[in-house]
């Protein structure tokens, strides 16, 4: 008994010393900048880094809209320009198109003035206000940790006044903290809370898609294990949620794929989509994957290509395009930086049919010419007349795509 008592004291002392030693040794090294996090030492000399965001939009006369290539019968026009860092779009009930931005910090309103599209800045100096959604006369704006609302906005575009706060308790992390914002068929506001880094074990509160009631109450998770989704939409018929996700960086030029996912199953069940343990449904992460199997997680519906950067997705529910376009999903791909040969810089489309594998085809390309790009398509938006708007956050413009037989 005495012997064991002594032993246990010794063990206690030893483990305390051990703890002290590790806490000294584990003075964690400062993390590199977010974009570089997870880069293996062997790639220390890699010249790859995110492309700089231009601080000003391209003037209309320097936007080569004729370079955009589309299927026969389709045509692209420059619909609006001078919208620095134009990102997500939502249409007001009186015809105002609201446009978000990310680093530019602005929210814009595009109004029709006798056939010309006039751009007004209705909010500025916000922190990455990437999410915009409109309902019952009110514009909702998601800016990292806050969701704001501008009531009766279309009647006071020249003086919107101070917004009201819907919620301001979301995580403040900036890496992958910018949000897509949309109303679901259930009338709730959906948004993403991305992983706060390239490849990290995220806190319970991060790497998900979440929703709240429009008054800010009733927060709940909808999907987990989602690294960064800044585009989702609901199928016009099944009303189920589909989202695009950005895969991690620095695993190589060809892996992992960015992915398209589908949230199905029983109501109330919150599926896990694999991050940070499993990528693209079949690659275990070299660090976080140990002890896991990809079969623990929901597989992607479709691999979209490595590093293509799928931003916005939109189901086509209009009547202008040919009949086979009905319920197709458009995916705007902003284009790669973490890849030797650039990929993406295009708009793809996905046809979904019960019991068949999804069909994945090119819709629009031409933003990338050789190794140079002049613009980056980010969000598709279906207008009431059936035309498709595509925003470009690099050229600072919106294109309108129409079809004529």
């Amino acid at each position: 008994m005495r012997f064991w008592h002594r032993c246990s004291i010794l063990l206690l002392v030893a483990s305390a010393l051990g703890f002290y030693a590790t806490s000294q040794a584990q003075q964690a090294p400062p993390p590199p900048p977010s974009w570089q996090q997870g880069r293996p030492p062997a790639l220390g000399d890699s010249p790859l880094a995110p492309h700089a965001q231009p601080p000003a939009p391209l003037p209309a006369e320097r936007i080569p809209v004729d370079k955009i290539k589309l299927p026969p019968g389709f045509k692209a026009q420059l619909w609006a320009s001078g919208i620095s860092n134009a990102r997500a779009m939502t249409l007001g009930s009186k015809g105002t198109l609201f446009v978000s931005s990310r680093v530019a910090g602005n929210v814009y309103a595009v109004v029709d003035r006798a056939g010309k599209h006039e751009v007004k800045v209705i909010a500025k100096g916000l922190t990455q206000p990437n999410g915009v959604a409109f309902k019952d006369g009110t514009l909702y704006v998601a800016a990292i940790s806050r969701i704001l609302k501008y009531e009766g906005i279309e009647d006071k575009l020249d003086d919107p006044g101070e917004p009201k706060v819907v919620i301001d308790t979301l995580p403040k992390d900036l890496p992958h903290g910018w949000k897509y914002l949309a109303f679901g068929p259930d009338g709730k506001l959906y948004f993403n809370i991305g992983a706060p880094g390239n490849i990290v074990l995220p806190p319970e509160t991060h790497a998900n898609i979440s929703r709240i009631n429009p008054d800010g109450t009733g927060f709940e998770y909808v999907a987990r294990g989602v690294r960064n989704s800044v585009g989702f939409d609901w199928h016009p018929v099944t009303k189920e949620l589909y989202f695009a996700n950005h895969g991690r960086d620095w695993l190589g030029d060809d892996v992992p794929n960015d992915t398209l996912h589908h949230v199905g199953g029983r109501p109330g069940f919150v599926p896990h989509f694999g991050y940070p343990f499993c990528h693209q449904g079949d690659i275990l992460d070299p660090d976080f994957g140990r002890g896991h199997s990809c079969s623990e997680f929901n597989n992607p519906l479709l691999k979209l290509g490595p590093h293509v950067a799928p931003i916005g997705v939109a189901f086509y529910n209009g009547n202008m395009f040919p009949a086979e376009y009905k319920n197709r999903l458009f995916i705007a791909q902003r284009g790669s930086w973490n890849r030797t040969q650039k990929s993406g810089f295009r708009v793809m489309m996905v046809s979904l049919a019960m019991g068949q594998p999804p069909q994945y085809e090119l819709f629009a390309e031409g933003w990338l010419q050789g190794d140079q790009f002049w613009g980056r398509p980010v969000y598709p938006y279906v207008m009431p007349d059936g035309s498709l708007l595509v925003s470009d956050d690099y050229a600072g413009a919106i294109f309108r795509i129409t079809y004529q037989r």
Binding site: P30, A52, P54, P55, A56, L58, V103, K124, F373, W374
Partner: protein
């Protein structure tokens, strides 16, 4: 400088302008071609604090000479929309037009950078060099700390200015574009901030 040399100096901006027109695709130059001569005229008001030619002699005020175009451009936008705040700069930036900002950014980018700010003892230099490596400053500011795109040239910047910026980032009161510096400054101790600022100020 002889008159011939002055002529050549004057010719440089127009060559740059021509290049700017030729290289349009894929270069984030923004809107219309910036006018460096207009920038020089518009910068006259800046000289009172930032020094002639954007080489500041006031230790609390940064040199703008040789800053990357995108850096100055973005910072003036941040001052104008209130994301970066400063008692002097906020009112100066408020009335600037897009063209003003473009011209000023292009003008300062074309000025030769200021010389290093004094020297440091070998121990501080060694400690500073180590901190720059450990804290990944060179990842974005590049190995010579001369900046690129929206990232500023910090080599040869004033010690006091660098000190104030790093303290501001650490206290989360210094506005920036994407939060990179707020994250980078967090693990630095007050003493480390002083060392790294002294070291960077001494670099050419």
């Amino acid at each position: 400088m002889g008159p011939g040399a002055r002529e050549r100096m004057r010719a440089i901006p127009s060559v740059l302008l021509l290049l700017g027109v030729l290289v349009t695709m894929g270069t984030p130059t923004g809107g219309r071609a910036a006018d460096i001569d207009a920038g020089r005229r518009k910068a006259e008001v800046c000289a009172a604090c930032h020094g002639p030619d954007g080489r500041s002699t006031n230790p609390a005020i940064p040199s703008l000479a040789g800053q990357p175009t995108l850096y100055t451009h973005w910072q003036l936008i941040l001052f104008r929309d209130g994301r970066r705040k400063d008692p002097q700069m906020t009112p100066v930036a408020a009335p600037l037009s897009e063209a003003d900002i473009e011209d000023l950014a292009a003008y300062f980018a074309a000025r030769p950078p200021a010389p290093p700010r004094g020297t440091v003892d070998p121990a501080t230099a060694e400690a500073g060099r180590r901190l720059v490596g450990v804290h990944h400053c060179d990842s974005c500011h590049r190995p010579r700390l001369d900046g690129q795109n929206q990232i500023p040239r910090i080599a040869a910047q004033h010690y006091e200015y660098l000190l104030n910026q790093l303290r501001g980032f650490k206290a989360q009161t210094r506005g920036e574009l994407e939060g990179t510096m707020t994250s980078a400054a967090r693990p630095l101790s007050d003493e480390e901030i002083e060392i790294v600022a002294r070291y960077i100020a001494s670099l050419p």
